[in-house]
Symmetry: C2
Subunit: 254 residues, 2 copies
Amino acid sequence: MALIPKNHPRAKSLFIREKLIDGFDDGIVAKEGLLAHGRGEAFDYLLGEKTTHIAKNAIKAASAALLLAKNSVISVNGNIAALSAKEIVKLARIVHAKIEVNLFYTNDIRKRNIVKLLKKNGAKEVLGLDLKLQKRIPKLDSARRVVDKDGIFSADVVLVPIEDGDRTIALKKFGKKVITFDLNPLSRTAQTAHITIVDNATRGMSELVVCCSRLSSKNETVLKKILRGFDNKNNLRMNILEIKKNLSRRASHV
Amino acid sequence: MALIPKNHPRAKSLFIREKLIDGFDDGIVAKEGLLAHGRGEAFDYLLGEKTTHIAKNAIKAASAALLLAKNSVISVNGNIAALSAKEIVKLARIVHAKIEVNLFYTNDIRKRNIVKLLKKNGAKEVLGLDLKLQKRIPKLDSARRVVDKDGIFSADVVLVPIEDGDRTIALKKFGKKVITFDLNPLSRTAQTAHITIVDNATRGMSELVVCCSRLSSKNETVLKKILRGFDNKNNLRMNILEIKKNLSRRASHV
């Protein structure tokens, strides 16, 4: 990729993009992942390219849910691995979550590359590679339903950063508490998940690590209270309002 | 790419995406082109994935400008070639425009692949390959400023479907009348161009071909009147309003 001029109005977003493209060149990110990132960029742009206070509320609720979970799993795809490998490992350590590689466009070489990257960043165990442990999520087509018996299949809480709508719906029907990152507050994933963090996953994962670390000393009562105080539908509506507000502000300069 | 279920709520958008990915596999589209397409998809989604009456107004003005031009050029990059090669050739024929391959991320092999694709679709001459004819757009950095002496360099009207902000600004400063496709009504390209068609380029190019064909029998007075009646800033504002309206409509279902 060409050098990014430091004075470019959107340099930070371009640096993240470069990181993703490096991930593609390293066999971590799928072609479709580049497209998905582009979609995210557009919504991030409309949200002001910052972690809003609305997203921070969702991150707080997600932290409580992860800390309260008995058996949580972080589902890792190419994009989140390329952008936040270090944060995934940190988060797993703090909330005692398992890590499972689970790809929408399944591909064994890419899976192995992702596992390697996570281990390089300190992960001890990464699920999702062992064919003998493959189980299927009910009510979902094709390869996309395959998950690890000891991972997503038996989890109570699943963090699926950047996920497909059909899979999110199937996971929810299968009784999982679903936490997701999705920059489009109108997407089926955003609408379906129990907790939707409408934020750039790169920024949001760092924020989630900090928040989980901060709340890890709190007792169950406090965490449950945080969770009860969170309303996902309302949070999504506030995100839509935020986009509308930004559009109005910018439209006045046109 | 995986098979697209026909009942998928956004099947049409996924088919276009697949066409672009094929273009990538064929060495036509750049990695950055996949990301750019993703950004476009997000805005298209917010605009309702249809050519709005607002976009149709811009297309009408663009048709008039192209038909009035003395020396128009269609600037072709990887994305528009992969999605609309046939329409580019048709449009060039109707409005007597030249075709020039001009890439943001320059790459000789990709350039040749694009020329081959355009010729396969009926183009007689494609500019942009001859090193001896290379000229530079003033006030623009690096490889991105190189254009063809007989093409963009000497054109009065340039259609740049999907363009970078810096280049659009430089082209305008260089005295060109710039027509662009940009799904983000807030982008620098959208704000800078003389006529911005806020529409998916795949749909918009077909519409532009039809409109140019319809208006090609009109005389100069009629075409100039159409052009005078078009206000780009106002058109952009209406697009922003359209996005806000769609957000409100959808938010009520959340």
